[in-house]
Symmetry: C2
Subunit: 380 residues, 2 copies
């Protein structure tokens, strides 16, 4: 396919697949798309393992990597002690979570400071030193793209990208962010609409994509990928008609055969409609879109505690959600009710579990059908 | 253009333009699109005047009409006395509005029960008898489409449409609503995403359009128009690539030369970005998307009164907003700050005031450019 992204990344179909699952990454790349490993939360050792596995299984096809390095941490050097962070967690929030779990007979195993201390280990990765160590591992592998999911990529990421010829990408949810990222020197902008799973803004894909494409093109800027709600080839074609160079997708891979999604959540996603998500601060402290369940409902209800700032809220939510996942996979009814995960509104169009390769193929066919539909409309 | 909507409505470009301004309706139809007069709030006499004017100025081109007949009122026969309705308005809400206006030195002329009684006159139009009188006027003119903006059209509308060969259309914000409307017998579905101005759901256009098109096509249902955020031809092309038969637009006409939009609000819209809208219950009691201003901010702030149910909230908001509009047009600074109107996120792409005819032409050209962009991508 003729697209700047295809030239830049050495692929023939400009479908980028974000996944925490290395199998999905390798399969998408082998099928002619471009897999991107979501590596947030991995240690440098784990990252080395995952990338080596992909190198061994991707058949020489190009792939990429996605990290989360919030500006807030990057380069500021401020560092609270673990004790100080843990002491900052309000009892109200801990009690709320305990009450919610107990209301569904879910025990509190691991919902404690020991688990939170482990999680704080991840936060060390997003200090300047931790970031540098992750980047050193990343750039020792033949990655073709490195993305930052939250805010402007740290300067070392941009510099190493330029030095190694690796495209640096960044997600943006507003035109002003896109212009700032462009000035910071990113090679690919990902315009992510408010219907996206995970962290997202409030402007929809249908508006944000043409808005950013126009603003960026006016300054001869980098190619723009469209994201947010895209789970089919017709939506990808729609975004490319509006000026996007391709699509960045995440949710659609969560229900693939390869995905390591909690099987209970996978089934919920296959059954969910497009209205069954909620954009809420209750998971990370920033607005992120998730599958709506009694867990998210409880946080949205009147009288629920106000979510804390990032990264504190995750220290409240993640240990509980980890326990919920664990018990729900074992058949615990109450845990199954509560179980949730990040997903976009496109979940309403995800009704069948396919292999990652089949999804890429379905995108290709649906893209062509969409093009033909438009060609017929204009009488071409 | 090849589209079921073109055949059904006798037009050559499937761009439908909802406007309260008869000039816009006539101009769009004369330019090959299809103007739809928003007639909510008109008396039967006013409706007769407006439609006669359009008949005289549309040059024989087809046009349509949009009414608001909520199910809640249609056919239920319940009728509170005006006194009872006015007595049901909480003092807290009246005081809040008075305080907000006074904070900007806006006086309270007309913000009273006399104005509210006039507004209740409109509510009489949406009783079964009032609806029938409006329909009798409507069907005595050569309309080609009649739409209901909120819920399932009342049975008389559907029956008269069938008898007179006038297409009956309905706006929907969720798949389940689309299926119910289809069973009720509507001829055209309008899938309106959450980025739309005015009343809207929460699912975005990028997801809702393919979701509804797929569900409706599976049952050989009526054609689907896409709505929500669409202010350019590239977005219209995007929606048609996803299966829509055309586009239903509203916001983009508010800044045209012909539109009777408050000039202060028109300038705000031309300057606004896509993030400058808010979906809130504070205007009508149901979620509707509006230009964000200190008026909407005040209603969203902590401690603001909870908006009342429809139609009570309008009796609180409209008299005040009418006064704000009046004074803002006269140059009153405080009123200019507060002034707002319904508009979708597409406002971020509305940066230039054109005539309605120029907007239609811009849509046509941009549509073709979008098609060519896609053709180039697939190598056609």
């Amino acid at each position: 396919m003729d697209s700047r992204i295809c030239d830049m990344l050495g692929i023939d179909f400009p479908l980028l697949a974000f996944s925490h699952c290395r199998d999905v990454v390798a399969e998408v790349s082998k099928a002619g798309g471009f897999g991107v490993l979501g590596a947030a939360g991995l240690s440098t050792e784990q990252l080395e393992t995952e990338l080596s596995w992909i190198d061994d299984h991707v058949g020489g096809k190009p792939y990429g990597l996605d990290l989360i390095v919030p500006n807030k941490f990057a380069g500021k050097g401020e560092e609270l002690s673990e004790d100080a962070v843990l002491a900052a967690l309000p009892q109200e929030h801990k009690d709320f979570v305990a009450g919610l779990l107990q209301s569904r007979d879910v025990d509190l195993v691991g919902v404690d400071d020991a688990t939170r201390r482990e999680m704080l280990g991840f936060n060390r990765n997003i200090t300047p030193e931790g970031t540098k160590a992750m980047l050193d591992v990343a750039f020792s592998h033949p990655i073709r793209l490195i993305a930052n999911a939250l805010g402007i990529p740290p300067q070392p990421m941009i510099e190493m990208g330029k030095a190694k010829g690796v495209a640096v990408a960044a997600l943006v949810g507003a035109k002003s962010h896109a212009l700032r990222q462009m000035q910071a020197g990113v090679d690919i902008l990902i315009a992510a609409g408010g219907e996206a799973g995970g962290h997202c803004g409030s402007v929809s894909t249908m508006v944000l994509v043409p808005e950013i494409c126009e603003a960026v093109a006016a300054q001869n800027g980098p190619p723009v990928l469209a994201a947010g709600g895209i789970v089919t080839g017709r939506q990808m074609a729609a975004c490319m008609a509006m000026g996007a160079a391709g699509a960045w997708t995440g949710s659609v891979w969560l229900t693939t055969a390869e995905a390591e999604t909690n099987p209970v959540v996978k089934q919920k996603m296959l059954a969910a409609g497009s209205s069954d998500t909620v954009r809420a601060r209750s998971r990370t402290g920033k607005p992120s879109r998730q599958l709506r369940t009694p867990w998210t409902d409880a946080w949205e209800a009147e009288g629920a505690p106000e979510p804390l700032a990032m990264p504190l809220q995750s220290l409240i939510s993640e240990p509980a959600l980890k326990r919920i996942d664990k018990l729900s996979e074992g058949g615990h009814k109450g845990a199954q009710e509560l179980a949730t995960y990040w997903v976009g509104q496109g979940v309403g169009l995800m009704n069948e579990s396919l292999t990652a390769r089949q999804v890429v193929q379905a995108f290709r066919e649906d893209f062509v059908t969409a093009y033909e539909r438009l060609a017929k409309a204009v009488g071409a």
